[in-house]
Symmetry: C2
Subunit: 447 residues, 2 copies
């Protein structure tokens, strides 16, 4: 194994020999001294070399030819070239970048680079074309280190409490929720569909007696829209738990797991996020505010915005407005909007015992945008069938799903949450394209 | 929230009131006493009720009507019914099942069950039809708790060492490795393909400067075979790391992460695995044996088995044989077969510097079956293009991938490993259908 030291680990080492490896961010090729800023996945370090521009015509000193060669090698280095450098680490508080530098002993050019086609002011679309270069930027790198920490904290919360991780299939024989926005593919002699969500299969874990399950995996929507919040493929974080009394139990779990994840992100990356994004990460206090949707619409209306929809739903501007209200009045970045009308919820959401017009469901709004939908599920098969019919679905087509409820099933509920949206809103970014490793949209399948 | 106690937590509680909830595994309805075995995701417990078969005709005592009703309710309970029971926990070492029982105070039938269509001796195919009932079996439940522990241990190993978790897209504009076995779908006005592996996209993290990355996610193969080891959709565990000197560095990491995961599984589930599968989990010692493939074929031949292939590859029987040899001679369940011929490896495997006929690659065999392929990747774009051409690929079609190597890239390598195969072999199961939540094959898309 290459015995390179990560840049972030240099600070803790004593002065002496080290090997570092990464790519050339900049070269300052001055007459008497050359500087390279070398970056790796953990940070950047200054490398220094006293330039030797010509051989002494009087008499060649030992090593002079090598020194000249090294100087010329550094002069020729292009941005993005991957190099491995052995040299001497020296702590020196005058060095702005981390208070240390490495005096170059030897330098290996491992992989040369064509000139980068993107710049700091390139359009988002162009940066997407060259995503593998765009990701070299420290902000982009940080996003995915945050993602790593965020996901691991969620999973750790669940694993430590005895939840089971499932991997549900993305190939299905029929639609999971709606025929609209469904990708269809030839499957041997027949047809298959790409899963729009693990909804049915995570519910299957309930009659299976798994109790509490989670999954992090892709979901697919043949959604032709081009907003900053939609993708044709996205990472969905899903949880489903048995023996809930209502959606309130789901919300309690939901806020706890988010607190665990935000705490981990703040602890591990808070200072860097402040530095690179100018954002102070706030670990949300619990309970998160809860506002019934009908009341939220009244609040928004009283602030002068009437949701321009003919159905009972909120719209994105309404979500921004209620979020702003909650921030101003309650000092919170999150709000659960609860008790959505049955008319705008899927057939499998449980309805209020005393008002079939409302569901035991919620959306979670974070900094103005919906990141998640949760609900208690209807587990009584006769009621479920009625609700499916009412939505115009054919119970026959849903038979494999309805079977899950015919052989005994506990009351249950859960949520689905979009990973890229959470990261976008956490970092005050403007598009999920920035917080998705490789975005997929109606006109984007590459790289 | 329902304040049920998980069955596994009863042992630590003092005698007194408890609520448990789960499904009815059996009812023994004796004349004077009734027993229910109730199971939840954590275990099974005996519930007991003194039967009251008729009202005393002389004078009805207080509560006698309720006692009669409870008795009749229990008599009517069907297998699989989900119930919630409040009662009195009593530790009693005479009770075979866990040394405790719960005397039933009240019983709620939460969800009735049709009679189960599967039995212990049902065929694997029929059990797959009713997977959500099949999964209620303690062995099946344990498999997915092991999966949870196994995955969390792998990820924890990586996360603690600074690896980045990526979620690569499953929708691609072109094939990742081969046009064969590729699912194709209509994508708006064009065509997309389902990813056969995250190979190209995890490699993309290398020029992106991510250093070391991992992913756990689905992969898709339009593979028409019906073996016990193949599926059209499977969970792939992928790792890719920068700055390797050869595949040896990948193998070292690979064995370390497996040791971490097997240690976690043994610590957490070893006793239960022994009980339910009759398998003693062995944490493998490092280094795992390494045998060049050519040598492995000679060993197998010397034991009387000549691999019946015209190419340089091993076959499944050869893998079983070399695995048996390693177990007998070296006492190890794992073996790395190394240095596969270039002719049978993908174009992106790096070849030996001194013998272009061999690659810096390996397969990992576990208990007789291949679970993983790893390699150092060719990162020199000119060599890579030559190797692609030699394999009959069109460099133009691979252009988006080749670009990853034109703007600077560190030497790197990694592996892909099939989750269901590891679990199958760990537990001495005979098919990945047993270790996949919902198996997908050429004729299996349901449930």
């Amino acid at each position: 194994m290459n015995t390179r030291t990560l840049v972030k680990d240099l600070a803790a080492l004593p002065d002496g020999p080290v090997t570092v490896a990464g790519w050339v961010e900049t070269v300052r090729d001055q007459k008497k001294v050359q500087f390279i800023i070398l970056r790796d996945e953990s940070g950047a370090v200054q490398l220094v070399n006293p330039a030797v521009r010509e051989l002494d015509p009087e008499g060649v000193s030992v090593g002079a030819a090598e020194a000249l060669a090294l100087t010329e090698q550094i002069s020729a280095l292009g941005h993005g070239t991957f190099i491995s450098v052995s040299g001497d680490l020296k702590h020196d508080e005058r060095v702005k970048l981390g208070g240390l530098e490495v005096k170059i002993g030897s330098l290996d050019v491992v992989s040369e680079a064509l000139e980068t086609p993107i710049a700091a002011d390139s359009s988002l679309d162009k940066r997407q074309d060259w995503r593998f270069l765009d990701l070299r930027h420290p902000r982009q790198n940080l996003i995915f280190r945050i993602q790593t920490t965020f996901l691991h904290a969620l999973r750790t919360y669940w694993v430590e409490r005895g939840w089971i991780e499932i991997q549900t299939p993305k190939l299905m024989a029929s639609a999971s929720e709606s025929r609209a926005e469904l990708f269809e593919l030839g499957y041997f002699e027949g047809t298959a569909y790409l899963s729009q969500s693990p909804q049915f299969f995570k519910q299957m874990a309930q009659p299976a007696g798994f109790g509490r399950v989670f999954e992090v995996g892709p979901a697919f929507r043949a959604d032709p829209s081009f907003t900053s919040r939609h993708a044709t493929e996205f990472t969905s974080i899903d949880a489903e738990m048995s023996w809930v009394d209502s959606h309130e139990d789901v919300m309690t779990m939901h806020e706890e797991v988010l607190v665990a994840a935000f705490t981990a992100v703040k602890d591990r990356h808070g200072a860097e996020i402040q530095e690179l994004f100018g954002v102070e990460i706030t670990v949300p206090s619990t309970p998160f505010p809860r506002i019934p949707l009908a009341e939220a619409k009244e609040i928004v209306a009283s602030r002068g915005y009437v949701v321009p929809r003919t159905d009972a739903d909120m719209d994105p501007e309404g979500e921004r407005q209620i979020s702003q209200y909650v921030r101003e009045e309650l000092g919170h970045e999150f709000v659960f909007l609860t008790d959505y009308a049955s008319s705008i919820r899927p057939f499998y959401h449980m309805r209020h015992a005393d008002d079939a017009g409302l569901t035991n469901s919620y959306d979670l709004i974070f900094n103005g945008v919906e990141i998640s939908t949760g609900a208690q599920r209807e587990h009584r098969v006769d009621v479920l069938i009625e609700q499916a019919k009412e939505k115009g679905l054919e119970p026959e087509e849903l038979d494999f799903y309805l079977d899950f409820f015919r052989y005994g099933v506990p009351p249950h509920g859960g949520f689905g949450m979009g990973l890229a949206r959470v990261l976008m809103l956490m970092l005050h970014e403007h598009s999920i394209r920035e917080t998705t490793y490789l975005f997929r949209g109606p006109t984007r399948l590459l790289p």
